[in-house]
Symmetry: none
Subunit: 264 residues, 2 copies
DNA sequence: CGATTTGTTCTAATATTTGGAACGGCTTTC
DNA sequence: GAAAGCCGTTCCAAATATTAGAACAAATCG
């Protein structure tokens, strides 16, 4: 996995430690926050260093104290804000794609996801659900593995055989569901099929009982920069419905791709 | 103005510079990215330092290169990721407020917003709309000025007269709509009224033809940390309706405030 | 009520960051 | 087409900022 990540030649260690702390804070799920001592122990950084780092991060709103008389820390709204600025700088921003995703959601009454490729994972950047009461496991901002999802396989299509092999050698493969593709060879064949078809199908490869149909959005270089998926329970995703989804998605993705300068 | 910000006793300067760079990157609106030299000039940090810092930030996905062969930088999806984790661990999260906001939205068939105070602006953290087809200009994660909105004025209520004056001297005032309050004196009177009433009204101060009613959520220190607003076209926001909104919001905000330890 | 653990402060030793200079590649300009 | 300028990148030694650990008071636990 390391070979895929960007490794700075001249890392700023102080900053790296601060980002490690931020990452550790992010993994906290409670609203109680995390104490300085806990961070110190977990990351093997001196208490005083953690203290000073959190103090500085707090000045920028990236972390906050957890509340009442708490001395524990949470991620702060300044980080929320900064995070929400990210999509605006990326190429698809001007395309006004959300109404299109909503139309797709309304038409098929299934969950519509949009994802981008980042650091050998898919980041869900937009999610439209048919019924607000039905919540699936994934949420905006979360990451999904490439090899087990329809969106992810679209991104894998841009990998050379060597890159794909490297990917499979470096990541930890988990059989999430009945049909998860777990070997390089099978994936190679699958990707060939996807490239030929122009769409990807996740047939119970990530969640048992769930099928996901996805198509790519490409930029002017032909690279798949994003993708849209429609997913639902297998029994509702009939062949006929999938065919209709394919047609609709095809139109939307072609339009967004041309927005990015993709021809043909 | 400064007195509001948290000033670390022992700042980690290296980290502070990195966060300055991140903030500068955030202000960029284009999809072209920002060059190392530009950042270096703008923030008076040596080119090599900017380079090394960006390299480290890139390793964590907080920034990205703008394109395959580009040497300019954009905010990265790792930051998006981190930002989306913020609401999940915030104190109000445990209050499970979204259903309450939805109830408000359903009851009045108007847009319900929730905002928090951060860095002298309001950050919209949740937005519930009665009809998905009607879109207002604001979106989750975006910032609104304090002086022109109902939510913002709630936060201004915590300012001392000196702080308020400093605020008005340091920000750029734009008359967004017919009734935008643009002077310190008028705002001072308005805030006194709001403090007395316990709610804030934006009567066509941000968008012409739009009225917004807001009430504060306070934490254990009595500080207004968040607020909820209901907004709609003036003709629909009758006195009677506003009275009903006031009652409903009052209940919800009191409940959420007590959740944060606010007494009385 | 004693024992532990917490956050915070301080200091001196250390390792880190720093900015400037140098380099090669690229674009612009004359 | 040559030269000048700007770019990102690398390197280095000087100097600064960070670090870990100890010390302390306050809070928590048994």
């Amino acid at each position: 996995m390391e070979s895929f990540e960007h490794i700075p030649k001249y890392p700023v260690q102080t900053l790296a430690k601060a980002l490690d702390i931020l990452q550790y804070l992010k993994e906290n799920t409670s609203t109680e926050g995390v104490s300085i001592s806990e961070i110190s122990r977990a990351l093997s950084i001196g208490k005083s260093g953690v203290h000073r780092t959190l103090d500085t991060l707090m000045a920028y709103g990236f972390v906050e104290k957890a509340g009442a008389n708490s001395t524990s820390y949470l991620l702060g709204w300044g980080l929320f804000d900064a995070g929400n600025a990210v999509p605006k700088q990326h190429t698809l921003n001007g395309a006004n794609y959300i109404p299109q995703l909503e139309k797709l959601c309304n038409r098929f009454s299934e969950t519509v996801n949009m994802g981008v490729f980042n650091n050998y994972e898919t980041v869900i950047i937009c999610k439209i659900e048919p019924n607000i009461k039905l919540r699936t496991n994934t949420q905006v901002g979360e990451r999904e593995p490439l090899y087990a999802t329809a969106l992810g396989k679209l991104f894998l299509c841009d990998f050379t055989p060597e890159e794909l092999q490297g990917y499979f050698e470096n990541i930890e493969i988990s059989p999430f569901a009945a049909n998860t593709i777990t070997t390089y060879e099978k994936m190679k064949a699958e990707l060939a099929k996807i490239r030929h078809q122009g769409y990807a199908l996740d047939n119970e490869e990530y969640f048992d009982g769930m099928i996901c149909f996805a198509m790519p959005i490409k930029d002017f270089t032909g690279k798949t920069v994003s993708g849209i998926s429609v997913s639902g329970p297998s029994r509702r995703m009939t062949a006929e419905k999938l065919e209709n989804i394919k047609e609709s998605l095809s139109t939307v993705c072609a339009q967004l791709s041309s927005f990015l300068g993709y021809n043909n």
